[in-house]
Symmetry: D2
Subunit: 441 residues, 4 copies
C-alpha cells in the first residue's frame, strides 16, 4: 500500500468540531451528511468526520469549567479501546461501534472519518487492562509522563514496548471493521506541552502508519494540532497525509493574516499524498457546542480570501459550519468549480511576494499550462494590488513571451480585464482577494 | 510563627536516599538514627529523613526497568493521604502512621523528617476520593496536566480550588500528629518537566507554607529538586527554609566542580531561615538500593573540598552515607568542630575569585571578627593557590591593617603558616582544598 | 577604597537625557544645576549628569533618521579618549575638558556626572591610535566583534590584552582630573545585542571598577541599560553602585506597571553601595531633544505611584525633567522629606503581595522600628486596597503585638486613619498609591 | 534569466580554503587548475574557486592570533569595491582585477569562482566613499550594527537605502567584466552572530540575486556559512543555487556522522538549481595555510562514506584538497563515474532509515528506473547492514514486483551479490559504506 495514493488531491469534507464542540450526536452527523450528499458531493466534498469525545459520557456538561471533564467516564472495551458513547450514538450499542453510522455515510456515496487522541486511556492503565494481540497490559505500554497538555484522557505509548504497536494495530483493526476512511489523530502533530520536544510522539506517528498498513484499509491519516514543525516536514511527508500547520484556526482576521506566513513556510511541501493543512473553514454557523452559536465573524471579503488561499496553496478543505444551515452565498463559495479546480492533480501554487500590505500567489496547471494569479489585500481599505507578469511567470517557471497580450479572468466574479504595463492588477477590497486565470488574447 | 526561626542555621542530618534508594525500612532507619545519636549528635547533626516511596508496595522490585513503578499500589487513607507501607514500616500498621518511628527518633534526642511529592495521588483522583475538611473531591482539585517528569504517582493541585489548600492542611495536620519535624517536598523547587515554566508550582509552595503555619508545628520546609531558579530567590526566601540549587548531586568530580558555579550564583542569598541547598553529601557507602553498593567515588581530597565548600557557603549538611558503616576518616571529616563552626550564627561566606583552575572563598565571623580563607585547586595536579589579603578582606568588608603580620591555621590539618607578600598561599592537592583561619601574629 | 562607601544611600540627582536627548550644552547644564542648588539640594538631590554624545559634532542634527549618526565626527584626543565637543561645551576648549564645568557644579555644592559608552571609539581603532600607558594600539585592544546594538561609536575592549585596562585607567585618570563624581556607563549592564550572552562585557565592568580604584577618586559607577541580569546580581553588587533593572523607562503606565515585577525580582538586593536602579523619573517637561517636547504623560496619581515605589524600594532617584520648568506640584513631589526618608540608612522595603489588581509593599526603619505600608491600585477606577497587619509585619520581620491599636498616617496627604479588623486599608485612586506610616495609638 | 538553469546539477569543483586558508596566490590557483583540467575535468569537475581574503594585505601573517587581522589594509577601489591584492595576484595590477586569472581558467575549459563577504568594507564607510551608480555614500548604506561574528572587514547593507542595491550591482558588473562564473557569499546563509535572527541578511540575498540578473551573466550563487535555516528553505530555493547546511565541515568523524542528520533534514529540498550543500570535501592534503599541513584524518572507509552520502544526497562536490598532491586512491574516489552518475539529472535520493548504528539511503533514476541502495555503518567495528526491499522501493515510490529476483552491484568495488529474504545486505566496515545498484536477475 502506498499512503500517497490514499489522498492524491487535498481531502475535502466536513468536521463536527467547529459547530458541535465535544457534543455531536448520531442524528446530527446524519443530517449533515445528508446535506453534503445533496449539495456538495458533486463538487468533490466527501469526508464526514466526527471530532473529539465521541466516547465520553456527559461531554459538554461542564462547559463553564472544563471542555474535557477530568477523570470522567469513557466508553471503553475490555482491551482499553474507546467506543462510541451509546447515549449519543445509539446505533453503536451492543458492540456495533461506528459500523452502522459508517454504513449510512457510505450509502450516501460519502466517506467516514473519526477523531482520536494518541495513546491509551488513563483509566485503562490504572486498571491494568490487557492489550489485544499482546501479552502486555495497559500499564506497561502507557507512558505516565507522556500526556496531552489540554485533554486529560490518555497516556502516550512507550516506544520500546512491543505492546504499543499491538495496541494501535488493535485500534485500526477495529476501525477497518467499522469502515473508517479517515482518522484525525490529535496531540501528535505538535505535542505542545513539551516545548523542548514538540515532536515527542514521532514514534507514535510511525506506529499509526504501520497500523493502517496492517489494517489493509486505505485510511487517510490527518495529524493535529499544529503548528507542524517544518524541520520534520520529511517525516510528515513519509508517514501522514495531512498535518496541521497552525494551532486551531477560527474566524479572526489576525489568524487568517497569519496563515499567509504559514503558507509561505510550507509552500514547497504540497504534493500527492502530502498536504499541509490550514485547518477547518469556519464558515456559516459555528460555535453552538461552545455555548455561543454565531455566524462566522469573517466578512464576505475575508471568506473569499480564505477560500482563495486554501485553494491556491492546495490545503485540504474541511468545512466547519453546520451544513444544514448554509446560506446561498456561502454555498456558492464552496461550489465554485473553477476555483476548486486548483485542488486537482497537476496544479501547484507558490507565493510570489508578501509584505505587510499585500500578498500575491501564482498557480500553475501543468497539462495545459494555465497560470493563475491571486492578489490579496491586507489593508483596511480597498487598494490596488498588482504583480509584474515577469515575477509571476518566473515564480512558477512558466514561459511568458515578452510582449504577449494577456487577459485575466477573475474567477469569483467572472470579470475579465486586460493586463497592461506588464502587470496583472486589480482593485481589491479590504481584507479581500482576486483570483485571476490568465489567457492569451 | 516565623518560619525563619525553624532553621536559624543550616540544618544538619541524614537522608536515606543515597544508600537505600526507594526501599529503606524501619529497622534500617532506626539503626542509622542510633549511630547518629551515638557519634554525630554532639556536633550538631540531628535530622533523620526518610526519603521517597515510603508509601509504595514493591518499591525497588523492578529496579532494572523503573525506579518508580507506574500505576503500582500505594498505601493511602480514605482521604487520599499516603501512609507508610506496613510491609516496610510495621509500626505504622493499624493507622499509627509514622508516629511510632518519630517517637523513637525523638527519644534519641534527634528530629524526624520525611519526603513527599507535591500534589495528590493519581489513584485518589481516578477514584474521586473526598478531601478532608472540604466539600471537594480529589478529581476536582487534581490538575491532570500537572505531573512530575520522573515519578508517576501524583497530580499537582489546582491553584483556584479551595480544596487544594484543604488537602495540604490535612497532610500537615497528620504530620504534626505524627511528630514530623522536617518535610522535603519534591517536584516543586524546579518543576523540570515544564521547561517554559519550571516554577509552575509556586502556588503549592505557598500552600505548603500556610499548611505548616496552620499545623502549629515548626516543620522545616525543604524544596527539591534543583536547580532552584535564581529569579525566584525572593519567593523561596519568603516561604521555604532550604531549596536545592542543583539537580541531584552525586560523587562525580564534574558535579562537584559545577557546584562552585552554583555557589557563586547563590552566595548572597544565605541567611537565617533561608539556605540554598547543595544537596546530600555522597560520602562513605552509597548506592545499595540502586543495585550498586560502593564506597564514594570521591577521593579524600575531593571530600575535603566538598566539606569545605558546603561549610563556608553554609549549605545544609545532609549526609547520604549508610552511617553504620562510616569509617574513621570519614567520621573525622564530619566531626571537625572548627570547620563546622562556619555554619553557626554570625558567619557568612563569599567567593573572592574563581576561574578554570581554582577558586577562593572568604568567610567572616561577625562577633570576634574572624576571617577565613578557603583555597580550592581544580587542577589535576598539586598546585600553589594564593589570594591577596587585600581582596580577601575586601570581599567580606573586613578591615585589614596594612602591614599587619598574619598567620593562617589550616583547619583540616592544624598546620600554621605565615602570610607573606600580602597573600595567603598554600600548595593544594589535585581537586583538594585548604581552609585557613587567619590570625594576627 | 571601598566602593560601597561611595554611595551609602541611593544616589539622587538629575540627568540630561529625558529632556535634551543627545544635544545638551553647557549653558543648559548650568541652568539646571543652578535650579537644583536653589530648590532641591536641601532634600538630598546632588548629582548633575551629562548624558550621551557630549563628544559628538552635529549630535541631534539627523534626528528623523538617526539618534546617533553613523561614522560621524567625534572629539577625541591623541590617545583615543573622547573629549567634550567644544561647539556645545565652549569651556572645554583648549584641552580643559569637563574640568571647568565640574568646577562650576562643585561650586554650587553639587556633584558632577557623565555618561560613557563602554569601549574605545571605532575611529581610534581604524587609525591605530596609541593607548596611554601601554605599548599597545587601539586596533589591538578593540574587539571588532563587540559592538553596541544601538550606537555606532565604539568597540568593546578585549579581555586578554593588557592595553584594555590601561585604556580604562587613562579614561578615569582624565575624569579624576576633571573632577567627575559619577559615571554612567552604557552598553554594559545588559549587552543586549548578544541575546545568548547579555553579560558579555563582564570583564569591562571589572576593569572600570579597577580603574576607579586606581584613579583614587570615589566615582559612583552606574551601569546601563537594563534589564540587569538577576543571575549576575552578585557581580553587580561586587563591582558597581547601581545598575538598571529595566530597559529605558518612560512615562507610560505599562512601563510603570512592569516596574512592580522588576522590583519584586530585585527586592532583596538593595543595600549600602548596591542599588538596583529603576531609571530616571520622567516628570515635568520632557522630550525636547527628541523633537516632541511635552509634559509627562503620567497622571498625578501615577506620579505618586512612581515616587512611592522608587522610595520604598530604595531606587536611585534621578530626575529626567527640565528642572527650570518644574511646576509647584511636581516640585512638592520631589521634596516630601518624610517620603524621601525611606532612602536613608537603616531602611529597607519588601513586597508583601502583588497580583493583577494591586500591590502592597512594606518598609522598615531599623532604629526606631518604624513600619510603612504602601498600597498600590493597578485598576482603572478607584478601589479599596488593604493588607493584613499580620502579613505586613511578618514581611519585614517586625513584631506586631496582637490586638495593638494602630493608626496610619498617609505621607502624601497627611491624613491619619485607624487600622481596623487587623488591616491597613485605603481607597486608592486609579493607578495611584497610598503610603502609610504606622503608629501605635 | 532563470537562476535554476545556472546549475542544473550539483556544481563540482575545487576551493582554495581547506588547504591554503586565507593566503592562496595566483600561481597556486593556476597549478591546481592545471591539475583539474588534466585529471578531473572529464568527470564533470569544473569550478576553480578562490576563497576568502584575496583582497587583504598580509593575510595569514598573524595566524597565531588572528585568522583575519582586525583593521588591516585591504585593496579597494574608489567605490569601496575590493580588488585582488596585487602582492598575491600580480596579474590583477593596474586595474585588471581577476580578469587575467579568469581568462586563464577559462582557457583550460574550466570555470572561475570567488568568495565574497556580504556588505561593504568598514574602511569604505569610515571614509564616506561614493557608491557607483548612486548618489549615496558608503556611510549611508553601511549598517554599523550589522557585522560578521568572525570577520572584521565589512558592514552589512541597509535594506531601505537604494544605494545598497546599487553597491551590489556595481560589484557584479565588475565580476561580470572579470568573467566570474561562481560567487560564494559568506556571512549570509546563517548570520550566526545574531542568534535570534540568523536570517538577518535575507534582503542582501535578494539583492545579490537581482544584481546577478542585472549583470546578465549566469553566476552560480553559493551561500555560506551553515547551518542553513530549514524554515527559510523556500527563500534559498527562490534566490540561490546552493546553501550550506552545516557549519564548516572538516575531517572529523563526528562531523561526518552529524551530516546524516543534516541530509535527513534537507532530503526533500534537492532539485534543479537548488542544492543544499554539505560543504567542501576535506580529502588529500589539507591545512597548510592553517599552519598544520596534514593528510585528511578520515580513514579510507570514512572517505567512501562521505563520497557516497554526498552523491546519493546530491550535494555539490567541492574538493578541499591541494589537487597537485592527490594520490591515486583519492583520485579514484573522485573519478568513479558510476557513482558520480547519481549527481546527473533525473536522479534523486531519500533516507530510508537511520538510527545510532546505521543509515540507509535509496536513490532513484527516473528514466530507466534504476534503484540504488546505500548502506552506512556508524559502528566502531564491521557490521552487517541490511534494508528490506519493500521499504527501499517504497521510499523512492518505485514498484518492486513481489518475488522478483534481484542482484545488487556494489559500485565502489564492483562486487555483485544476490538479494535474499527480501533484503539488500552487506557487511560494512567501521564508519564505512556500500553503494549498491539493484538489478533484476
Amino acid at each position: 500500500m502506498d499512503k500517497n495514493k490514499f489522498a492524491q488531491t487535498p481531502p475535502m469534507g466536513w468536521n463536527s468540531y467547529d459547530y458541535y464542540d465535544t457534543s455531536v450526536n448520531e442524528e446530527q452527523v446524519k443530517a449533515n451528511a445528508d446535506y453534503m450528499a445533496a449539495h456538495l458531493k458533486q463538487y468533490g466534498w466527501e469526508y464526514v468526520v466526527v471530532d473529539i469525545q465521541w466516547y465520553a459520557y456527559g461531554a459538554g456538561s461542564m462547559r463553564d469549567k472544563h471542555q474535557y471533564i477530568p477523570f470522567s467516564k469513557l466508553e471503553m472495551d475490555e482491551y482499553g479501546r474507546l467506543l462510541p458513547c451509546p447515549e449519543r450514538f445509539p446505533s453503536a450499542a451492543g458492540g456495533a461501534g461506528f459500523r452502522p453510522l459508517a454504513d449510512y455515510i457510505h450509502s450516501l456515496g460519502l466517506k467516514f472519518g473519526i477523531h482520536i487522541m494518541r495513546g491509551i486511556p488513563r483509566a485503562a492503565a490504572q486498571q491494568h487492562l490487557p492489550v489485544l494481540g499482546s501479552s502486555q497490559t495497559a500499564d506497561e505500554i502507557a507512558n505516565p509522563s507522556s500526556i496531552c497538555g489540554w485533554n486529560p484522557d490518555m497516556y502516550g505509548l512507550r516506544r520500546e514496548e512491543e505492546g504499543s504497536q499491538a495496541y494501535y494495530d488493535s485500534l485500526f483493526a477495529l476501525y477497518a471493521q467499522w469502515g473508517v476512511d479517515y482518522v484525525k489523530c490529535d496531540d501528535i502533530c505538535n505535542t505542545n506541552l513539551y516545548k523542548e520536544n514538540p515532536y515527542s510522539a514521532a514514534h507514535e506517528i510511525e506506529m499509526l502508519h504501520k497500523a493502517i498498513e496492517k489494517s489493509g484499509r486505505p485510511v487517510v491519516l490527518s495529524l493535529s494540532p499544529g503548528p507542524a514543525l517544518i524541520e520534520k516536514a520529511w517525516h510528515y511527508e513519509k508517514y501522514a497525509n495531512m498535518w496541521r500547520i497552525t494551532d486551531d484556526f477560527w474566524d479572526k482576521w489576525e489568524l487568517l493574516l497569519n496563515m499567509f506566513e504559514r503558507c509561505e513556510l510550507w509552500q514547497n511541501h504540497v504534493k500527492e499524498g502530502c498536504f499541509p493543512d490550514c485547518d477547518m473553514l469556519p464558515l456559516g454557523f459555528l460555535g453552538k457546542g461552545f455555548g455561543e452559536e454565531r455566524q462566522t465573524n469573517f466578512t464576505k471579503d475575508e471568506q473569499v480570501t480564505m477560500m482563495t488561499l486554501w485553494c491556491i496553496f492546495r490545503s485540504p478543505l474541511i468545512l466547519g459550519a453546520k451544513m444544514t444551515k448554509l446560506d446561498d452565498w456561502t454555498l456558492s463559495l464552496l461550489t465554485n468549480q473553477r476555483v476548486l479546480d486548483l485542488l486537482k492533480e497537476g496544479h501547484h501554487g507558490v507565493q510570489v511576494e508578501r509584505d505587510k500590505t499585500h500578498a500575491v500567489w501564482a498557480g500553475r496547471e501543468e497539462k495545459e499550462g494555465r497560470v493563475y494569479a491571486a492578489l490579496f489585500n491586507f489593508c483596511e481599505e480597498e487598494t490596488e494590488v498588482s504583480v509584474s507578469l515577469e515575477d509571476l511567470y518566473a515564480s512558477v517557471s512558466a514561459a511568458n513571451e515578452e510582449g504577449a497580450k494577456l487577459t485575466a479572468e477573475e474567477l469569483w466574479t467572472g470579470e475579465t480585464v486586460e493586463c497592461k504595463d506588464g502587470k496583472v492588477s486589480g482593485s481589491v477590497k479590504a481584507h479581500g482577494a482576486k483570483l485571476y486565470l490568465l489567457k492569451k488574447r
